[in-house]
Symmetry: C2
Subunit: 361 residues, 2 copies
């Protein structure tokens, strides 16, 4: 089998452990009904044969119920207060938390109280302290907790990881990643959006999109940085409290180094590259959902760029979570995995603030 | 004219100011006859209609004369001592210094004494102190001094620079560069080579190849970093005294950031990417001479990868120098330009050693 064929197969759903026909689907209470939920999450849940979006939770009872009426599988719309009060708690098995970062903890506390599993968006919370509290709450209640890193179930990224593990690049030496877009000018001009509010978000470009190259680097190398530094900046007034742009540098064990860039004010671009002693693997485009993924590989005189069959990344992520909830296999991106990103990102901010490298050990 | 056509034209020889037919060729004394001189420099000089390799200088009289006998346009082979003594000094107008870094100064001193112009390989010397001394010697003698940055006359890089200047990427935000190869395992296994000797080289991967992404970043942005940091490491015993691998981060004015990687122990790879608010330009492969250069550009929905007609980079560089020696236009990569790289690289080492960002202001 040549390389192109081998890569073309990808690693789609190589994580499945449970046959969907043998188990009940996981019924979700979806917490937070913004554009991402409506545009990405609910369509994926509706199309899944492992998941059902049975309960929708929002600040507005009317908004929640209207959306529930339009959503396949949804039986109830609830307000946040009703959710906390346990209304309709027999109608869901798990919650999907897609609120502003600083509100994640309170919904996980309620889920823990009622014994519901949790799929929580990244970054895990607004600070590592709150992330640790969140993890402890889930652990004490014995519920499953997964942080929603959709790159972990993206076939192109999984194939890259497998190739690296198999030694395709030789000994990994370096990782380079980028994620950038024009948030205010192209995507959402609202200066009141929660991403710009430090109290709700905890951080700016680093927390929102820098976490993609950071976490994917950790995932591809199966290794965590031990020393980091960075640089932050902002141009728009709306980014007065959080970083609009971040550049960061990472030192991993065994002299592996990383360099990443994320900006809410640069041309849309996304890539991640691992260079080793023998070869190089790049996924580009890498992180935006609407784009097909291409795996660029080279080793010796060989070189190939293979466009993979696109998948619905949210569907893959939800189904992976459901597989782990219904089966016995362990979740990879658990609470400890999410806490590590929070600690690394806080250390990057500290390094940027103090013009030095910060140790995580 | 579409973008592909516009780029396809490149910027080949847009720097020419003097018609070669109107002036005498510049006769060079070539100092240092290693594999690079024999394989790259002399063939370029032989094929030039602006330059002649009239005198060849080496440690061995026999080696110098044998090579002179085989080289078109060469009339004399000299020892280093004979060169310093002024033997055959009427037979050359300029010197090309391609010795170990720490010996550059002494040959420039002699050239200055005899009023000969200087094309000096990069890095300029083994330290910024000696580079400043070299620059002062040349300035006092009123001779031309150019540092041999062949990317400055590479048409793909010049076209990238022109596109950036014209606003193709919008406001430049970020630059990312890499140059890596397997020096000991693939190119030259000799543990006694001068590149590994700190006294002769002054630095390792950073001085030898990291200078490519560093200097090309400066050239593309027409801007110099103001704060830097880095990380160095070595695996082979032969790299006990100098860095085998370097990762560095740069802060330029106006919140532009840079990230670069260079290694003598990683797969051969070379690229440089500039991301702006509106677009992105990448040259890849970028720095190795034997490869065709491709310019990858994207802006809005437009995206193109254009392979440019290859040039002999050494010929372009020599002819540019000859054009400036015979004409009135100023050299771009002059002594001050070379000193800046030396200062930046020393600051990167300082930052790596002390785990902090180092200011160059």
């Amino acid at each position: 089998m040549d390389l192109e064929t081998a890569i073309g197969n990808g690693c789609a759903r190589d994580w499945e452990t449970v046959d969907a026909r043998d188990v009940e689907p996981v019924r979700f209470a979806v917490i937070g009904l913004g554009w991402f939920t409506k545009g990405r999450a609910l369509p994926a849940l509706e199309s899944s044969d492992r998941c059902v979006p049975s309960v929708l939770v929002s600040g507005s009872a009317e908004k929640a119920q209207t959306l529930a009426d339009e959503t396949d599988g949804a039986t109830r719309g609830l307000t946040y207060d009703q959710f906390h009060d346990g209304v309709a708690r027999d109608a869901y098995d798990a919650i999907y938390v897609v609120t502003p970062n600083a509100l994640h903890l309170e919904y996980v506390e309620t889920a823990a109280e009622y014994g519901k599993h949790v799929l929580c968006e990244k970054p895990m919370e607004r600070s590592s302290d709150r992330a640790r509290e969140l993890e402890a709450v889930a652990a004490d209640a014995g519920i499953e907790l997964m942080i929603a890193y959709r790159m972990h179930t993206e076939p192109a990224v999984r194939r890259a990881r497998e190739l690296i593990e198999e030694g395709y690049v030789g000994t990994p030496m370096a990782v380079d990643g980028q994620m950038s877009q024009r948030l205010l000018d192209r995507i959402n001009p609202d200066p009141e959006q929660w991403r710009l509010d430090e109290n709700l978000a905890g951080g700016g470009a680093l927390f929102d999109i820098g976490i993609y190259p950071l976490n994917t680097a950790r995932f591809l190398l199966d290794s965590d940085p031990i020393t980091v530094t960075g640089t932050t900046s902002s141009t728009h007034d709306a980014f007065a409290d959080v970083d609009e742009t971040v550049s960061f540098a990472l030192r991993f064990p065994d002299d592996v180094t990383g360099r990443c860039y994320a900006s809410h004010n640069a041309r849309q671009a996304s890539s991640i590259t691992v260079t080793g002693t023998e070869g190089q693997i790049r996924v580009e485009p890498a992180f935006f959902q609407e784009q097909r993924r291409t795996l660029h590989v080279s080793r010796g005189d060989g070189r190939a760029s293979i466009e993979l069959e696109p998948v619905d990344q949210m569907l893959e992520e939800f189904d992976y979570f459901a597989d782990r909830v219904r089966g016995d296999a362990a979740l990879y991106p658990d609470g400890e995995h999410g806490i590590a990103d929070m600690e690394i990102m806080e250390a990057i901010y500290e390094g940027a603030e103090e013009d030095r490298w910060v140790s995580l050990e």
